[in-house]
């Protein structure tokens, strides 16, 4: 339980599919930082810690960003764990505030690679990708998760339309998120008619790359603006290289710590009011939910047809990255955390889940070879 640190503010930049001249990773991060500090009612001079993750900040590093933001710090972290960077940075920041290493920490992430830049990132993701995957024309992560999806369909008896239920439900939530790049309601006909990208994945199974950034502010719960509930983290766990890529990718590292996470949080999966599950692909949303023990009997097909299609379970209520867009994995993960905070503070507007008090958030990423190697999860609580 992190009793002496809380998330006290959130903010984001605009999201766009095609950044304009003058817009860069740095300017998107600046916009998110300004928004988060305003939301937290924190003067920039009070910030003494920062964590940042980005695929496109280089050749700048975290210290360059601190300098360009005019922040003089005593705690600085740069994370490189992709889709679980946000969760990873959250854990580091909570511990830093609790141990006194810093008192007000900005956690931020953003990317503005553009589509061509993203293709270069995907083809050069690591040495293994450069040597053994990119020369096949593997299509970046789309190809990797196409194969995982086929495996999941075979293992759990899922149909193509089952993934559609998830994409459609998230699009319905996105209609209420002014920052989402795709807000037009989607039907199953739309979903099934979309062109295939990497069989069996079609357009709406693949997270759309956008430019943008997110930021959150971590400090003592007392620093939360007046009249607003602060959000505390009941438990946080992470996993790195959980199986040496020797499994089938249908489980994530979350499977190694889920029981411990719930015990530390003092609640169970059935107590969760709202969930932000890292959604680079619908396949991996189901895998993470299953690892968390949130799918009764591991019956993925029933869960998606009953709980998701019939909107019984508030999942990725900002539309998820599948509809809002993925401004790089780090900021995409932060978007899920920010949404959970807004929900728990009852500030989510038209997409507010009534009486939301407990949320679970996850991160997943860093495709090492056949699937991702990093995962993390946290249980968040509204403090009255």
């Amino acid at each position: 339980m992190h009793a002496n640190a809380a998330i006290i503010g959130v903010g984001q930049s605009a999201y766009t599919r095609r950044p304009q001249p003058g817009q860069s990773t740095h300017t998107f991060i600046r916009d998110a930082v300004v928004a988060a500090l305003a939301d937290a009612e924190i003067d920039p001079r009070e910030v003494d810690g920062m964590a940042v993750a980005s695929f496109s900040l280089a050749p700048d590093a975290a210290i360059d960003l601190a300098w360009k933001l005019g922040l003089s710090l005593r705690w600085l972290v740069q994370d490189s764990n992709g889709g679980s960077s946000a969760m990873n940075m959250l854990g580091h920041a909570l511990r830093a505030v609790e141990t006194g290493a810093a008192s007000v920490i900005l956690v931020t992430g953003g990317d503005a690679t553009g589509l061509g830049g993203y293709a270069k990132v995907a083809a050069n993701f690591n040495i293994v990708t450069q040597l053994h995957l990119a020369p096949l024309g593997h299509g970046g992560p789309n190809g990797v998760y196409a194969l995982v999806t086929s495996r999941q369909m075979k293992t759990y008896g899922l149909q193509k339309s089952d993934y559609g239920h998830l994409a459609i439900a998230q699009r319905a939530w996105a209609a209420h998120n002014p920052y989402a790049v795709y807000r037009t309601p989607m039907t199953m006909e739309d979903y099934l008619a979309a062109p295939l990208v990497a069989d069996p994945l079609s357009r709406y199974d693949c997270v759309p790359v956008v430019a943008g950034a997110q930021a959150i502010v971590i400090a003592h719960p007392d620093r939360c603006p007046d009249g607003r509930a602060s959000v505390r983290v009941r438990a946080h766990r992470a996993s790195f290289n959980y199986d040496n890529q020797e499994g089938d990718g249908l489980q994530t590292g979350i499977s190694t710590f889920a029981g411990e996470l719930w015990r530390a949080a003092g609640i169970g999966p059935e107590d969760i009011d709202v969930a932000s599950i890292y959604d680079d692909y619908p396949t991996m949303v189901l895998a993470q939910l299953n690892d968390l023990g949130m799918i009764p009997g591991s019956d993925l097909a029933r869960f998606v047809r009953h709980n998701i299609a019939e909107r019984r379970f508030p999942l990725n209520t900002w539309g998820g990255m599948l509809s809002a867009g993925q401004p790089g994995g780090p900021a995409g993960g932060l978007n899920g955390i920010s949404e959970a905070v807004l929900q728990l503070q009852h500030r989510a507007g038209a997409r507010q889940v009534e009486h939301a008090r407990l949320a679970v958030t996850t991160g997943y990423g860093m495709t090492l070879y056949r699937y991702g190697g990093t995962a993390a999860a946290a249980v968040l609580e509204r403090l009255e």
Partner: protein
Amino acid sequence: MNRGVAIWRCVKCRTGFFPQRLLCSRCHGDTFEEDRVYEAMVEEISTIRHMLGQTDWQPRRIASVRTSDGQQITVGLTDESEPGTVIELFEENAAPFGAAKK
């Protein structure tokens, strides 16, 4: 083009790896010798129909396969092999490919 695909076998416990590792994940041995595998069974396939940043992309097939030595690797398929097909492996530079065994 080379026949077969290179794997790296731990000298201590004989486990074979692809891609190459620094330490054996089974026994943490630090010495490997290069070996080759020549056959694999296709388990899942995909056709990559779209590639970000490419306008004249021609669809390519990839597959997750299990080699005769047990490694699960991703290969480019140069024919119309389906799941269950036994393929012959070959490599171009360090990239593994395969086609149905003749």
